[in-house]
């Protein structure tokens, strides 16, 4: 049995604990294809992007529950961006946005924690212990829209090699290029808004998503598509007009 393990630090502890349990019970027919990703190097990469146009961050609630709020301090200290760790309910989000805006209005850059009922500064020590015991950083990991980011993924430590599907089985190093038209990366960095993506609402919809941001109720593009006060008809009309204009012969 091969478990396809994915997700940020939120799901990493359960994979780590499963491997530790498998080790304790001497289970030999189980391995993990590890595709876990880690949040801090990823945020760093976004912050280092020259085209970054974000004003601040809503920190991910459940990742923060595991890693702790203190891990984000560098974002305020070195990059001078405010961050508010946010819960997921509508009022959590509203309050977090308000807290961010208050920081911006005051000219402050701090890490604030709106999701205090779940997230603590030091994180979840038992979860982190299991994660550190089982995983180590990879040299790099490929991201949809963001390309390769150094140290943004994890792999199993050599001690647990017998549970590592990449070591047990020949896993071809497949490179799957992003669809050319997909602009998830630019949306993630705040360079464009979801509806400004070339394929938003046409080739990329919640029924047939091209990019990850159109997937699930929490993808940014899916949220705008389903709930945003965006006139899709108008966007498509403008897009068609722009394409027609670019195809028509240029005046000499």
């Amino acid at each position: 049995m091969v478990f396809f393990a994915l997700g940020f630090e939120t799901t990493m502890p359960s994979t780590a604990l499963t491997i530790l349990r498998a080790e304790a019970e001497c289970i030999s027919n189980f391995s993990v294809f590890c595709n876990h990703i880690t949040i801090i190097p990823t945020i760093k990469a976004i912050l280092d992007s020259p085209e970054l146009t974000l004003d601040g961050f809503l920190g991910p609630g459940h990742v923060s529950m595991v890693i702790g709020g203190a891990m984000y301090e560098f974002i305020a200290a070195h990059y001078h961006k405010p961050l508010v760790i946010a819960g997921f309910e509508p009022l959590d989000i509203l309050q977090s946005v308000w807290m961010l805006m208050r920081q911006l209005a005051d000219g402050r850059c701090e890490v604030e924690n709106q999701y205090q009922r779940v997230v603590h500064d030091e994180g979840n020590a038992r979860a982190l212990e299991a994660v550190h015991k089982v995983f180590q950083l990879r040299a790099f990991f490929e991201w949809r829209g963001l390309g390769s980011i150094d140290h943004s993924g994890v792999q199993l430590r050599d001690t647990y090699a017998r549970f590592d599907a990449e070591k047990k089985y020949p896993v071809p190093n497949l490179k799957i290029a992003d669809p050319k038209s997909c602009q998830c990366g630019e949306v993630l960095k705040g360079v464009i808004r979801p509806w400004q993506c070339k394929v938003f609402g046409t080739a990329c919809t919640p029924e047939a998503p091209l990019g990850s941001l159109m997937v699930s109720s929490e993808g940014a593009c899916a949220a705008v598509y389903n709930y945003g006060l965006v006139d899709l008809g108008l966007i498509l009309k403008k897009r068609a007009a722009a394409e027609a204009a670019s195809r028509s012969p240029q005046p000499v």
């Binding site: 799901t11 609630g61 459940h62 997921f88 029924e207 109720s217 929490e218 709930y227």
Partner: protein, 359 residues
């Protein structure tokens, strides 16, 4: 005919009529004596009734008996593949009876007869099958229906997951009752007969071993008694559906689309248990989409809504009933949630499964 052959026949015909092994084997689906033993020992003994007793290839009913109940037949079918087979508050057998009873009941019909078709995976413990069939018998008795015909198939290990059940059902709709999605009218009130999402959470918790401190029980229950009480108090019910898979959100979208009207929900009046709300928040799931197995959504004219609500609350299957919204003209085909903090959001049908959050 030789004497020897004549003497042999009774010996060959002899069967124990009982299953002697602990697990289902392919022989139990082979059409021979083992299958006959299975049917007699497990199914016929549990479901015993006059329509089943002759063991013909079909059950037969007199049309004049049916006509005593009303002037139209209601006919439905549903398949049950739930995993695990046993969960807090019920099992697949109880679901298979209640689900089909409820699909009939929400038309206003008196549910009368059910079929029971099972697909068994080789290796299924006979004890599990007996337990499930016993629970079907109890559920049928509680709902006042008879299981009058059936079928068994056994498939090789791996070709099915332990046990699948299909039940079809026949009921009779009293003359004068006309419940249909297309009859929704602006001003109608939206009623639900109790807490939503219990079944979905019970299954999720059992399947994923979530270790909840307060276990949630499935809400599986027959709704025909409640519907009859509701029809007595409010014969003018416009629409009514069983809010099973897809939850109340899906049913309300079906109503809104059929009648080309808008359903406005008042978030703070929707009954959701604290534990279901908490789990939904943690996992990022919406109770509006969780499956129910004993919940109906009804649209009734506003002037009859208080009587309908009172009738529901007097019935054990509707103690926690509530009015959760109302119908308006616009936006056409919409379901709009008026949130507890004064916002509005569109409640659409799901594209596929609900996905838990991983960030």
């Amino acid at each position: 005919m030789s004497e020897a052959i004549t003497n042999l026949v009774p010996r060959i015909r002899q069967r124990s009529g009982r299953i002697s092994c602990d697990t289902i084997t392919l022989a139990h689906g082979g059409g021979g004596k083992a299958m006959r033993d299975l049917i007699e020992d497990v199914f016929c003994s549990a479901f015993a009734n006059p329509a089943l007793a002759p063991m013909e290839d079909q059950a037969r009913f007199s049309l004049s008996d049916l006509a005593k109940w009303g002037n139209r037949l209601a006919f439905t079918t549903d398949s049950y593949v739930v995993h695990p087979l046993f969960f807090p508050g019920g099992d697949i057998g109880e679901l298979a009876v209640n689900g089909t009873v409820n699909d009939l009941a929400v038309s206003g019909a008196q549910p009368l007869y059910l079929s029971c078709s099972v697909i068994l995976e080789e290796g299924l413990p006979v004890a599990d099958l007996r337990r499930i069939v016993a629970s079907m018998r109890r559920a049928a008795h509680a709902a006042g229906v008879q299981i009058v015909t059936g079928d068994t198939k056994v498939v090789e290990r791996g070709a099915a997951d332990k046990l699948f059940i299909n039940t079809a059902g026949i009921g009779v709709i009293p003359s004068g009752v006309n419940i249909a999605a297309i009859r929704a009218q602006p001003g109608d009130k939206v009623l639900v007969n109790g807490f939503i999402g219990d079944h979905g959470v019970a299954i999720l918790a059992a399947r994923e071993d979530l270790g909840l401190t307060v276990p949630i029980q499935s809400d599986t229950q027959p709704l025909n008694g409640l519907v009859q009480a509701l029809l007595t108090a409010c014969p003018a019910i416009h629409c009514m559906r069983d809010a099973a898979r897809g939850g109340i959100a899906t049913v309300l979208n079906e109503f809104a689309q059929s009648a080309d009207l808008c359903i406005n929900l008042d978030e703070s009046s929707i009954p959701v248990r604290e534990a279901v709300r908490g789990l939904s928040e943690t996992l990022g799931l919406d109770p509006l989409y969780f499956a129910n197995e004993g919940k109906l959504v009804a649209l009734v004219p506003a002037e009859h809504a208080p009587a309908a609500l009172a009738a529901m609350r007097l019935h054990p299957a509707g103690e926690n009933a509530a009015i959760i919204g109302e119908v308006s003209e616009r936006p056409k085909s919409g379901v709009i949630m008026h949130t507890a903090f004064g916002g509005e959001r569109i409640v659409d049908m799901l594209v596929g499964e609900q996905l838990p959050r991983i960030c």
